[in-house]
C-alpha cells in the first residue's frame, strides 16, 4: 500500500514498512503517525532519530532490548524501559518506531 508524502508516492510493503529506505523524509513519520492517530512529540522524534542513527552505523534495526538499553544510556535512565517506549509507541517500539523511521522490521521481531 503506497503512501503519499510531500506530493510523492512512496512504496511500502504489506506491513507498511518503506520498501526503499532511501525514500525516507521526516514527512514519512508524520504521515504514518497520522494514520495511527498518533501525534508525534519531541520524545517520539528522539527515538526515531536514534533508530536512524543506529541503522546508519550498524545497518540493522536494533532489537527492542538493545533499543531500550541504548535509549536509557543516551536519553536518560528514566526513558530506558519498555513502559516508557510502549507509552510513546503503543504498537511496539520495535515495529512502530522502526516503521516511522523508514527502517526494516527488527530481526527476530514477529
Amino acid at each position: 500500500m503506497p503512501i503519499e508524502v510531500d506530493g510523492k508516492t512512496l512504496e511500502t510493503d504489506e506491513e507498511g514498512y518503506l520498501v526503499n529506505l532511501s525514500d525516507w523524509v521526516p514527512g514519512v513519520a508524520e504521515v504514518m503517525a497520522k494514520e495511527d492517530d498518533l501525534e508525534l512529540t519531541q520524545d517520539h522524534w528522539d527515538i526515531i532519530n536514534f533508530l536512524r542513527e543506529y541503522y546508519e552505523e550498524y545497518q540493522i534495526a536494533p532489537a527492542v532490548r538493545v533499543l531500550t538499553k541504548a535509549v536509557g544510556k543516551r536519553l536518560g535512565k528514566e526513558k530506558g524501559n519498555s513502559k516508557y517506549l510502549y507509552g510513546l509507541f503503543p504498537y511496539g517500539p520495535g515495529k512502530q518506531a522502526c516503521r516511522y523511521a523508514g527502517l526494516p522490521k527488527p530481526t527476530g521481531c514477529v
Binding site: Q59, A63, R65, V66, K73, T107
Partner: protein
C-alpha cells in the same frame, strides 16, 4: 541462570557468494534474546567476514559488515578468530573490525571482544561449547 548454555557459532565461509554468513549473523542476533552465552568463531574463509573496509557496491548486495560491530550490544561476549586462517590469507588482527562490549548496568567494558587464537585454543573452545552452530 542454571539452564544457560554455551552457544558457539562457527563461521567458515566468505561473507558474500553464499547466504551462510548473513544467516549466521541473523541467528546470532536472535539468539541474544534468549540470554545464552553466545560466542562466535571465525575460521577458514570465515575470517573475511570480519575484515574492515568491505565494499559491496560492485556486487549489488547489502554490506552487512558494520553489523558485527553492534554484537557487543547483543551480549555476545567473545568473537574468536583462528590465527592460522588469518595468516594463510595474509591478514592480521589489524585488518579486522573492533567490537566493543559494555555492561550497561555496571559500566564494566571491554574495548574489543575480537580475539585471535591459535588452533589448539580453537579446538578447546569448540570442545567447551554445549551447542555448536556451523555455518
Amino acid at each position: 541462570m542454571s539452564d544457560t548454555k554455551n552457544f558457539m557459532f562457527l563461521n567458515r565461509r566468505a561473507p558474500y557468494g553464499t547466504i551462510y554468513a548473513w544467516e549466521s549473523l541473523e541467528v546470532v542476533l536472535i539468539a541474544a534474546a534468549f540470554e545464552q552465552n553466545v560466542s562466535l568463531m571465525f575460521v577458514d574463509d570465515g575470517v573475511y567476514e570480519l575484515t574492515k573496509g568491505q565494499d559491496t557496491a560492485g556486487i549489488g548486495m547489502k554490506n552487512f559488515s558494520p553489523t558485527y560491530r553492534t554484537l557487543g550490544d547483543y551480549e555476545v561476549r567473545h568473537m574468536y578468530v583462528d590465527k592460522a586462517s588469518l595468516e594463510a590469507r595474509g591478514l592480521t588482527a589489524d585488518d579486522l573490525v573492533e567490537v566493543e562490549w559494555e555492561d550497561w548496568e555496571t559500566e564494566e567494558s571491554v574495548d574489543n571482544i575480537v580475539e585471535v587464537v591459535d588452533s589448539d585454543r580453537v579446538a578447546e573452545l569448540l570442545e567447551e561449547s554445549d551447542v555448536v552452530f556451523s555455518f
